[in-house]
C-alpha cells in the first residue's frame, strides 16, 4: 500500500509556523513573539507588520531572549522565543534549564533553521545536539514536525500547553502532509504515515520524508513493505506505539537530523532494550565526527539520510 505521498509542495515548515502564529495572534493578544535579530530568518516580517505590539526584539542576545520569554510566560503570556536552533539551545541552555524548565515557565522555544539547514555555514550554525541536551532536562517537551500539517498543529497545541515546549524545524520546502489518511496530530503520539510489516522506520523532523521515499522504493523494487512513523515528539516518547511496533520482531531503523549521540535513536533503543525487545536495530544519524561541508541535501546524502542510503540500510538489515 504505497502512501499517497502528497506533492513536495515546497512550503517550508518555517513559513507555516509564521502563518500559524499570525492566525493565533489575530484573536489572542497574549500571543507574544520574542526575537533576537531573527525576525527575517523566522519569516516573521509580516507578523511584525500586522501585530507590532505582539513582537519583542531583544537584539542578538539569545540568553536574554530566553530569560525575557520566561518572564513574559510567568505573567501569563504565551511567549514564543524564536531563534536559530543552534544558538537557542546552546547559548541559552542554562536559561532553558533554569528559567524555563526548572522554574516551570511555559515558554514555547522555537528553534528555526535546525539541524544542518544552514549547510555550508558550518558547525557553529548546526544544531545536532539539541535533542540530546534537552532530553536530559526535566520538564520540557521536544518536537520536530515532519511536514506542514504537523508544524501548524504543533504550534497550535503548544500555544495551549501550560508547560515548556521546544519545537524545531528547517527552512527547506516540505510536503504539506506526508499522509492524507491520518489527519490527527497529538503531542506525544507518533503518527504512522505509512503502513508495512517487514521493517519500520522511526524518524523525526525533516528526516521522515526520505524514509517515506525509501519505503516506496523498497516496496516497488524489492517487495519490502515498510512502516514509517513520524515520531514528531521525541520527549515524551510514544512508548505504546513503539511497543506495539516492535512486537512483530522485524528490523527497526531510526532516522534523524541530529548527532548519533543522545537523540531519537538512543531514546528508542533504550526503551526497547529495557522492555526486552531484540529486533535488529540501526540508528541513522550524523556520526560523531566533524560534519562534512555542503548543503543540507549534500550532508544528508553523505550520511545516508536519503532515499538511496536508507534503502541500502534497510536491505542490509533484511538480507544480512
Amino acid at each position: 500500500m504505497a502512501t499517497e505521498v502528497i506533492k513536495t509542495a515546497e512550503t517550508a515548515n518555517l513559513e507555516v509556523f509564521s502563518a500559524t502564529l499570525q492566525e493565533l495572534a489575530a484573536h489572542d493578544r497574549d500571543i507574544l513573539v520574542v526575537t533576537s535579530d531573527s525576525r527575517g530568518s523566522g519569516k516573521l516580517g509580516p507578523f511584525g507588520v500586522k501585530f507590532p505590539d505582539q513582537i519583542i526584539e531583544v537584539g542578538i542576545a539569545e540568553q536574554n531572549l530566553v530569560g525575557v520569554a520566561a518572564g513574559l510566560a510567568s505573567m501569563g503570556k504565551k511567549a514564543f522565543a524564536v531563534s536559530p536552533a543552534c544558538f537557542l539551545t546552546a547559548r541559552s541552555l542554562e536559561q532553558i534549564k533554569n528559567d524555563v524548565a526548572y522554574s516551570d515557565n511555559p515558554v514555547k522555544l522555537i528553534g528555526i533553521s535546525a539541524g544542518v539547514s544552514y549547510g555550508a555555514l558550518g558547525t557553529t550554525h548546526h544544531s545536532l545536539h539539541d535533542y540530546a541536551v534537552l532530553r536530559a532536562i526535566n520538564n520540557i517537551t521536544i518536537i520536530a514536525p515532519a511536514d506542514n500539517f504537523e508544524t501548524a498543529e504543533a504550534i497550535r497545541q503548544a500555544a495551549e500547553t501550560e508547560s515548556p515546549v521546544y519545537i524545531r524545524f528547517g527552512k527547506k520546502g516540505m510536503p504539506d502532509n506526508l499522509s492524507r489518511q491520518i489527519s490527527e496530530f497529538r503531542i506525544g503520539k507518533g503518527r504512522v504515515v505509512r503502513e508495512g510489516g517487514d521493517l519500520t522506520f522511526v524518524a523525526t523532523g525533516e528526516a521522515v520524508l526520505p524514509c517515506v521515499k525509501a519505503a516506496d522504493l523498497l516496496e516497488q523494487t524489492y517487495n519490502v513493505r515498510c512502516k514509517v512513523i513520524s515520531m514528531h515528539t521525541i520527549k515524551p516518547l510514544d512508548e505504546a506505539l513503539l511497543f506495539e511496533t516492535a512486537g512483530n520482531n522485524q528490523p527497526i531503523i531510526t532516522v534523524e537530523e541530529h548527532s548519533v549521540n543522545g537523540g531519537l535513536g538512543e531514546a528508542v533503543a533504550s526503551f526497547l532494550f529495557q522492555k526486552g525487545f531484540r529486533n535488529s536495530f540501526k540508528i541513522v544519524a550524523l556520526p560523531d565526527e566533524h560534519t562534512v561541508s555542503g548543503s543540507q541535501t549534500e550532508i544528508f546524502e553523505h550520511y545516508g539520510i536519503s532515499e538511496k542510503g536508507l534503502v541500502q540500510t534497510a536491505l542490509s538489515l533484511i538480507q544480512p
Partner: protein
C-alpha cells in the same frame, strides 16, 4: 605599503570578495565590504603575522569575532600567501574546507568563529597568556555592532580592563546595520564610546574607510598604558558598491549576473579615480 597602494588593494579585495560570493552563490556581502579596509590595514601595515611566522608563538593574533564576514578574511589571507587564491572557487561547496565561517582548517585563521560574541573573550585569553609569557605581541579582534548585544562581550570588556590588557585591541565595524534593521531599531547601543570608557577601555573614533586615519590610529596602540584599546570604526555596510550601500538585504544578498557586472564596473571606476 603606501596609502595609495592600500587604496588599490582594497579595490582588488572588494572585487575578489564579490567574485567568490558570486561564484559560491552565498556569503555575507555587506559586512565583508564594510570590514575589508580595516583588515587591509591590519594585515598590510600593522600586524606581525605571515605564512612564514604563523607557527611561531610570537606572532600577533587576529580573531574575527564577526565570523560571518569570512569572505573578506579569506581574500586577505590568500593575498598574504596563506593559501592559493583559486581555492576560494570551492567556497561553500560540498567537502570544501572553505565553509561560510572562519575555520582553523584554513591556514591563517586563528580561531573557529561564527557564533557571535565569542571573539573578544578568546582574545582576552590570548592577551593574558602573552603577558604571562612576556611576549610583546598584540591581539586584535573585529566585532559587529549588532554583535555587541551579546552579553558575553560585556563580560569580556569588564575582564580586559580588570586585567589591564593593553596588548588587546577590539575594533568595532560600526556600519549601523544588522540583519533585521538598524541598530537603533533592533537594539540601540549608543553612547557606545561612553559605555566602553565606563568599562575601563581607552576609546578612539575613526573613519573605517580612511587609510590614513586607520593606520595612524592602529600605529599608536596602546592608546593608554594599562588599558585595552577600543576603536570605533565608522563604516558603510556594502561600501564600494552604491546599490549595496546601507541596504539591509545586502547583509547576505548575492548579486545576480547584471548586478555583479555593475558592481565590477563601479569598482573599476574607483580604481581609475585612485590612479588619476
Amino acid at each position: 605599503m603606501t596609502i595609495q597602494e592600500l587604496e588599490l588593494k582594497s579595490v582588488e579585495y572588494r572585487e575578489k570578495i564579490l567574485r567568490y560570493i558570486y561564484n559560491a552563490k552565498a556569503g555575507h556581502t555587506g559586512g565583508s565590504l564594510s570590514v575589508v579596509d580595516i583588515l587591509n590595514v591590519l594585515y598590510n601595515r600593522i600586524m606581525n603575522v605571515s605564512p612564514e611566522n604563523f607557527h611561531l608563538n610570537e606572532r600577533d593574533r587576529y580573531v574575527q569575532s564577526k565570523g560571518h564576514c569570512v569572505e573578506a578574511l579569506y581574500v586577505v589571507l590568500a593575498d598574504q600567501g596563506f593559501f592559493p587564491e583559486e581555492d576560494l572557487l570551492t567556497l561553500c561547496r560540498y567537502q570544501s574546507p572553505y565553509i561560510g565561517h572562519p575555520t582553523k582548517k584554513i591556514k591563517g585563521v586563528e580561531q573557529n568563529t561564527g557564533g557571535l560574541g565569542h571573539g573578544l573573550a578568546i582574545c582576552a585569553g590570548n592577551a593574558i597568556a602573552a603577558k604571562k609569557d612576556g611576549l610583546p605581541l598584540k591581539v586584535f579582534t573585529i566585532m559587529g555592532d549588532g554583535e555587541l548585544a551579546e552579553g558575553s562581550n560585556w563580560e569580556a570588556f569588564m575582564l580586559a580592563s580588570h586585567y589591564k590588557l593593553d596588548n588587546l585591541c577590539a575594533i568595532l565595524d560600526y556600519n549601523k546595520l544588522q540583519i533585521s534593521g538598524t541598530n537603533t531599531e533592533v537594539m540601540g547601543l549608543e553612547p557606545i564610546d561612553k559605555k566602553l570608557e565606563a568599562f575601563g577601555w581607552a576609546v578612539r573614533h575613526v573613519d573605517g574607510h580612511n587609510f590614513e586615519e586607520l593606520t595612524s590610529t592602529l600605529e599608536s596602540l596602546p592608546f593608554e598604558t594599562g588599558k585595552p584599546s577600543f576603536i570605533i570604526a565608522h563604516t558603510t555596510k556594502g561600501k564600494g558598491v552604491s546599490y549595496m550601500e546601507n541596504t539591509l538585504k545586502w547583509h547576505h544578498g548575492v548579486p545576480d549576473k547584471e548586478q555583479y557586472a555593475a558592481a565590477m564596473e563601479e569598482l573599476e571606476g574607483i580604481r581609475t579615480k585612485i590612479l588619476e
